[in-house]
């Protein structure tokens, strides 16, 4: 890339060069310092909440999380802050929405990407490119609005029968805004991200490999399945990781459609679990943002932010690791 480095050859211009490098480097260090500052401040502010709940208990189930949060807001006094929180329902809701959406989304994205690269006729392929980009660009609040105003009433009308309501009466109230709707819309939101990455990787598979397979009489689907998708496996993992990070951090859309109640859907309820409310961590922060002025509540919300920050940092680490094998094929994602 750089066969010749000019700064060694002339000293006077070398000084100007050095200055430029230092200035550009300083901006890089500045951004890095900001990230370090963010991590440290979020953790410092989150600490009271973790320490008062003896850290690991913060993550455990126990009681109604919304009742706990309300008592943090209303019963805390400047001298006696209350921090009691068992955040499991929020964590469980985060895992459920993210996990289900990524699982459904990844299988759908693989099929759609294979369609775009291998099977789509020319005209359709030309439409699909802007379609994927558009779907990725729709603001999350628009998705949320469609979800709460159009899909939720429809679900409430068609799927939530009286028996279903009675089966969990006394535990939780079922409405149209629920886990199922949240997962559905979240899937639509993260699918285009994954499709774009997988399409990129599939089109970068060396032509000779698939040609070799076809020459041996293997049909196009088998070739794609055995050769292209296997080569693109790191990209598929990277896509899933990126989509998980996106789903984890989605707040506004989920605050709108996930039912607005901190509740851990009980999988033992069968399909009814899909219609139970499930407000994840990020949506909880949005739900209670007006109470950030209350110090005890602020610490609680920063604790949730810290959990999200650590998860997303781990995910970007995993994404980086997943992408390493791709460099062999010269694929940039």
């Amino acid at each position: 890339m750089r066969p010749f480095s000019p700064e060694k050859s002339r000293s006077s211009s070398g000084a100007a060069d050095r200055r430029a490098e230092l200035m550009l480097g300083a901006s890089a260090v500045g951004v890095l310092a900001l990230i370090a500052l963010m991590t440290v401040t979020v953790f410092i502010n989150a600490w009271p909440s973790f320490s008062h709940n003896s850290f690991y208990k913060w993550f455990l189930p126990g009681g109604d999380v919304d009742v706990q949060l309300r008592s943090i807001i209303t019963e805390s006094t400047p001298g006696h802050p209350i921090y009691h929180l068992r955040a499991w329902p929020l964590l469980w809701a985060t895992m459920l929405t993210t996990g289900l959406a990524v699982l459904i989304g990844i299988s759908f994205s693989i099929l759609a990407a294979v369609f775009i690269v291998e099977f789509a006729p020319g005209g359709l392929r030309q439409i699909l490119d802007p379609v994927v980009r558009l779907l990725a660009g729709v603001p999350s609040v628009v998705y949320g609005l469609i979800g709460i105003l159009a899909i939720a009433p429809w679900v409430e009308h068609n799927f939530i029968s009286e028996q279903r309501k009675e089966s969990v009466a006394g535990v939780v109230q079922l409405t149209g805004a629920n886990l199922g709707v949240a997962v559905l819309i979240l899937t639509v939101m993260i699918t285009p991200i994954m499709v774009a990455i997988i399409v990129n990787a599939l089109s970068a598979v060396p032509r000779a490999w698939t040609e070799g397979s076809t020459a041996l009489g293997v049909n196009r689907w088998r070739t794609t399945w055995r050769i292209s998708l296997r080569t693109a496996r790191p990209a598929i993992i990277a896509a899933a990781v990126l989509a998980t990070a996106r789903a984890l951090g989605e707040a506004i859309m989920l605050a709108l459609v996930s039912g607005g109640r901190g509740f851990a859907p009980n999988l033992l309820d069968g399909t009814t679990a899909l219609f139970e409310p499930a407000r994840p961590l990020a949506a909880t922060i949005i739900h209670y943002y007006e109470d950030l002025s209350n110090p005890a509540m602020a610490a609680t919300l920063y604790a949730m932010a810290a959990v999200l920050l650590v998860s997303s940092a781990l995910l970007s680490l995993a994404g980086w690791g997943a992408k390493q094998p791709l460099k062999r094929y010269g694929i940039r994602t």
Binding site: R2, E21, P130, R133, P139
Partner: protein
């Protein structure tokens, strides 16, 4: 890395040879997979068409020209709640501010990472740092911003209450945090462009006696103008579409409320809202609960995003990097 689907590759040329591989000879399970692929592709188109059409119908039926020129008012009656002039102004102002901060930093970062990349450990740390911001949830960035801008010594960037407490919510605060959203996209697009420049371009500049800094400034950056522009457009899309930062860091007040007397500065120090926050506040979860207004604003928002998408497509299709 960043999720910009701009690089859907053109089809592999000339598939004629494979057409002889006839579908009817495939095993059943392969044919099933083939049908599923078609279903997924058509499904993707159908979902998009449904979303756009739905918003179009709702938008057209609730959009009135007066909505664009009236300021919102806090009335519970939808017909008296005013329009969304202020949120539109807020969106434009916040996007301009965010990009104005993000573009120079993003380009500088990309130039340093691509052209200097030393010391190597620092470069790697910066790379993963940028990746981490790209993956960080915007709610987390927002409440971090609230912490930072509520500090006493940054009080001049927002408002101070009578007791001396700093409010921490202003266009400045939101603009800086929005810039964080846009920086990874600008860095990625610019680096992509720089990586595709032929080495001869650099060598020719060095041969003419230019040093590295001049080469970057006068040869390389002009050559990747289009990549920078498409990165900025993608960043604008992120900023326009984000709600959490606006709700938490811009105050999400109905109107633009200035602070202090100096004309432009007061707006920047003051609070306001954007189209996304307006939609959120008028949805059933917000305080306004005016579905018609929310649909109309969401439609305008969607049109803005479509326009930006169009710009990105034009930028990336009109040849980037080496040809420019």
């Amino acid at each position: 890395m960043a999720a910009h689907p701009q690089a859907l590759e053109p089809p592999l040329a000339n598939r004629q040879g494979r057409r002889r591989d006839s579908l009817s000879a495939w095993p059943l399970i392969d044919r099933l997979a083939y049908v599923l692929c078609w279903a997924a592709g058509i499904g993707l188109c159908a979902v998009t068409a449904a979303i756009v059409l739905f918003m179009f119908v709702k938008g057209i039926s609730y959009l009135r020209p007066s909505l664009f020129v009236q300021s919102p008012t806090g009335s519970l009656n939808q017909s008296q709640a005013g329009g969304f002039l202020d949120p539109i102004e807020g969106t434009l102002l916040l996007t301009a501010l965010g990009v104005a901060i993000a573009a120079p930093i993003g380009v500088a970062l990309a130039a340093w990472l691509s052209e200097y990349h030393r010391p190597a450990w620092l470069a790697r740390a910066v790379e993963s740092g940028v990746e981490m911001i790209a993956g960080a949830p915007s709610v987390v960035l927002a409440i971090f911003g609230l912490l930072v801008f509520s500090q006493g010594f940054l009080g001049f960037l927002s408002q101070r209450s009578a007791g001396g407490a700093v409010y921490g919510r202003s266009f400045f605060a939101a603009g800086v945090i929005m810039a964080l959203l846009a920086i990874p996209l600008i860095v990625a697009a610019t680096r992509e462009g720089l990586a595709q420049l032929p080495a001869q371009l650099r060598e020719a500049s060095y041969a003419l006696g230019k040093n590295k800094a001049t080469t970057i400034r006068h040869v390389l950056l002009p050559a990747v103008r289009q990549d920078i522009a498409s990165g900025i457009a993608l960043g604008m899309g992120r900023i326009i579409g984000d709600t959490a930062i606006v709700v938490i860091l811009l105050g999400s007040t109905l109107r633009l409320e200035g602070a202090g007397g100096v004309p432009i500065l007061s707006t920047l120090r003051g609070t306001g809202s954007t189209l996304t926050a307006y939609v959120y506040q008028n949805s059933p979860a917000g305080e306004g609960n005016a579905a018609q207004k929310a649909y109309a604003a969401a439609f305008v928002l969607l049109m803005l995003v479509l326009l930006l998408n169009f710009v990105v497509t034009r930028l990336s299709s009109s040849g980037s990097g080496a040809g420019a």
